[in-house]
């Protein structure tokens, strides 16, 4: 019995010590001395620790050593910087540094099976990549756009690569005239883009589908689009304008003259909402940039503008009739609705100008003018109703007035009778 008791005690004690060792080992293993030490430092040695708190790699369980190597369990700095320690990569090595994981599909699919792994290949085809290969380290590389330690997913609104942050990320270099002085490219792109209709859609209406730098230039493969490909870029979102243009006589002419299609009239970065002044033969018209005065195309341009102006004038007339009737208290919500159809036709016709076909434009305007004519009829009927009400009021008031006089006379008559 004594032996059995002894064995029991020994068993319990061993389990106890085993538990303690495992516990302390695990505690020991969880300590990340990279962070422990760097936390106590300052400035650029502290910054990575602060930034890494929101880093996406951290969320996947990765830490300092997974990129920089070394032994995070080792407290002593020399021992921590073991054989595997890579340290801070040299600037021109950064793309390969990141690609050591990000181009390895077997490694990446553990974390996200659908993530792309061709970023480095594409990067080498970009202007930035080409210049980097030639030894220019001023160009953008991974950490310039994605940050080094506080990298967030591009779907996160605070990320440097979230759509409405991208223009600032690119313009950090591209708008810096001093930084860019050795390169022969303009630095006004961000200023121009800020005034554009796309910037308004993105920053004011929060429309995330509006294009930013990477939508037209690519992100990893960033390169200015060639003249022939600008039109393809715009057609991604504006296919009907593009199709109409391709079917028009301008396509062949522009190709022969090597003019960039959309850009010639609309600009590239400072794309403003198009105005009707761009059509026709006026001062601000784009047609007269090429077409000589009194030539056939010049006349067509002038006719298109006249027809459009006449249509718009009719719409304004209808609007003012309805406005007048509304002010006079007649209910005109039905004709107002019908007028929105005419306004839809107007939008359609403005787009149709890319075909430069007077016949098609006239036909569509004709459809629109039929609708406007209906609205004008309804507006005039509403104004007649307003007049009818006023006439009715005058008649009723006349009767009331006559009745009041009659009452007054009767009152006087009766008062006289009462007092006598």
């Amino acid at each position: 019995m004594k032996a059995r008791k002894m064995r029991k005690i020994i068993n319990l004690l061993s389990i106890f010590f085993l538990a303690i060792s495992i516990f302390s080992l695990s505690l020991y293993a969880q300590k990340n001395y990279c962070i422990e030490c760097h936390q106590e430092l300052e400035d650029e040695l502290l910054a990575p620790v602060e930034a890494f708190k929101i880093d996406i790699h951290q969320q996947f369980g990765l830490s300092c050593a997974d990129c920089h190597g070394g032994n995070p369990a080792e407290e002593d700095i020399d021992l921590a910087k073991d054989k595997t320690f890579k340290g801070t990569p040299q600037r021109f090595r950064i793309p390969e540094f990141c690609a050591s994981c990000h181009s390895d599909s077997r490694y990446m699919r553990r974390f996200n099976p659908s993530i792309r792994v061709d970023q480095l290949d594409i990067y080498w085809t970009s202007k930035h990549g080409q210049l980097l290969k030639k030894g220019d380290t001023k160009v953008a590389l991974c950490t310039d756009c994605h940050a080094a330690h506080g990298i967030q997913s591009a779907t996160h609104p605070k990320s440097w690569t979230f759509p409405w942050n991208i223009p600032q990320t690119c313009s950090r270099c591209h708008s810096d005239t001093n930084y860019m002085k050795d390169y022969r490219i303009p630095t006004k792109q961000w200023d121009d883009y800020k005034d554009s209709v796309h910037a308004h859609a993105l920053f004011e209406k929060k429309d995330l589908s509006a294009p930013v730098c990477n939508d037209c230039h690519g992100n990893h493969g960033a390169t200015p689009p060639e003249i022939t490909s600008i039109a393809f870029v715009c057609r991604q979102c504006h296919p009907s304008a593009g199709e109409l243009f391709s079917q028009s006589p301008h396509k062949k002419a522009f190709d022969e003259m090597e003019l960039s299609e959309c850009e010639a009239c609309h600009g590239n970065h400072k794309i403003l909402p198009p105005s009707d002044e761009m059509l026709g033969t006026g001062e601000k018209a784009v047609c007269i940039q090429c077409h000589e005065s009194e030539s056939k195309p010049y006349q067509v341009a002038s006719q298109i503008k006249d027809k459009l102006d006449a249509f718009i004038e009719k719409i304004r007339h209808a609007e003012s009739l309805l406005e007048q009737a509304d002010r006079q208290g007649v209910e005109v919500s039905e004709p107002k609705f019908r007028l929105t159809e005419a306004n839809s036709t107007l939008i359609f016709v403005r787009n149709l100008t890319h075909s430069f076909s007077l016949m098609e434009i006239e036909e569509k305007i004709g459809d629109g003018e039929k609708v406007v004519a209906e609205v004008i009829k309804a507006g005039e009927a509403a104004l007649r109703e307003a007049k009818f009400r006023k006439t009715g009021l005058i008649i009723a008031t006349c009767f009331i007035f006559l009745l009041s006089i009659a009452l007054f006379l009767k009152i006087r008559q009766i008062d006289k009778k009462t007092s006598t």
């Binding site: 208290g329 919500s333 008031t397 009331i400 009041s404 009452l407 008062d415």
Partner: protein, 359 residues
Amino acid sequence: MKNILQSIYFYLDTRFKLSDLIQFAKKKKVPEHKYSFWYYFGGICLFLFILQVLTGILLLLYYTPSVDSAHESIQFIMSQVKFGWLMRSVHSWSANILIAAIFIHMFSSFFLKAYRSPRELTWITGFFLLLIFLAFGFSGYLLPWNELSFFATRVGTDIAGTLPLIGKHIKTFILGGPDVTGATISRFFWLHIGILPLLTVIILGIHVLLVQILGMSKPIGIPQNKVKEVPFFPNFILKDSLGWMLILALIGVLCVFFPWEIGQKADPFAATPIGIKPEWYFTFMFTTLKIIPAHIFSIEGEMIAIFGFMIGGLLWMLVPFLDRNAAKERKSSVFSFLGWIILLYIVVMTALTYLLPGL
């Protein structure tokens, strides 16, 4: 023609004892003196009330009290129904003119001390009629279910909800739930065309009956030789009708040149529009609540204001019993002075609502 009329009269007389009624009516006299102009306002209130009932019954033909169709039915009335614009605008304008007339009638009766014995009950029923018509205004305002009326109702009931202990229950009862919803439209509609008209018939009936029985009150201190008495039928009633005709003409002009707007359909999830206010006849109380400091001697300012109004209303109703001088047919300048202060307060507070920025 005259014979036919005479035989009809004879037929009705034998059954309804019309001739007794006519004898009584012939005796009814109205004193004429320098203040008798104010006598017209009682009749004006009655006339406008009848106008409201008639136009209200017509609107009832096309209005539907539901969240999905209230606003649309008003749109329908204004655009599709023949003269719908007229009936609806008359109803909306007359409501406001009626409440203005009620205030004039109440204050003129106050200053002429018409509340003194034996007319205390006339005054008290009149006070209840004021409350009933304010309730008519408040309940009717929500029915078109537009943005302004939705938020005005919410703001108004929120104030009711701030009363200690009972506030929340009162608010839930009025709204038919925790917030302004379809249940509120049903409830307000129930009040507007059911309960309030019923109460009006009873209390207005008593009020008018008392006036018939007791006759018109003469102002204190007017010597007998300065007062002439004219028969109500036909002299005074004809003058009454003249006044009513002029008001009718005014309403007509207002409806043609300033038709009542339909507004945007209420969206419960929209933010409260800035500067939302209740209708003008509530604004003196609304502005008081806005202006009063947040705390007075560590009691919430708004609470003090609400209780102030409740107690003020109670004292106003009990004036016939408080004004001992008037009861003894003596001049009562203190009460007149107080009346002027109250009137001035209401006018100034109402004006400030529209003049002060950020209110």
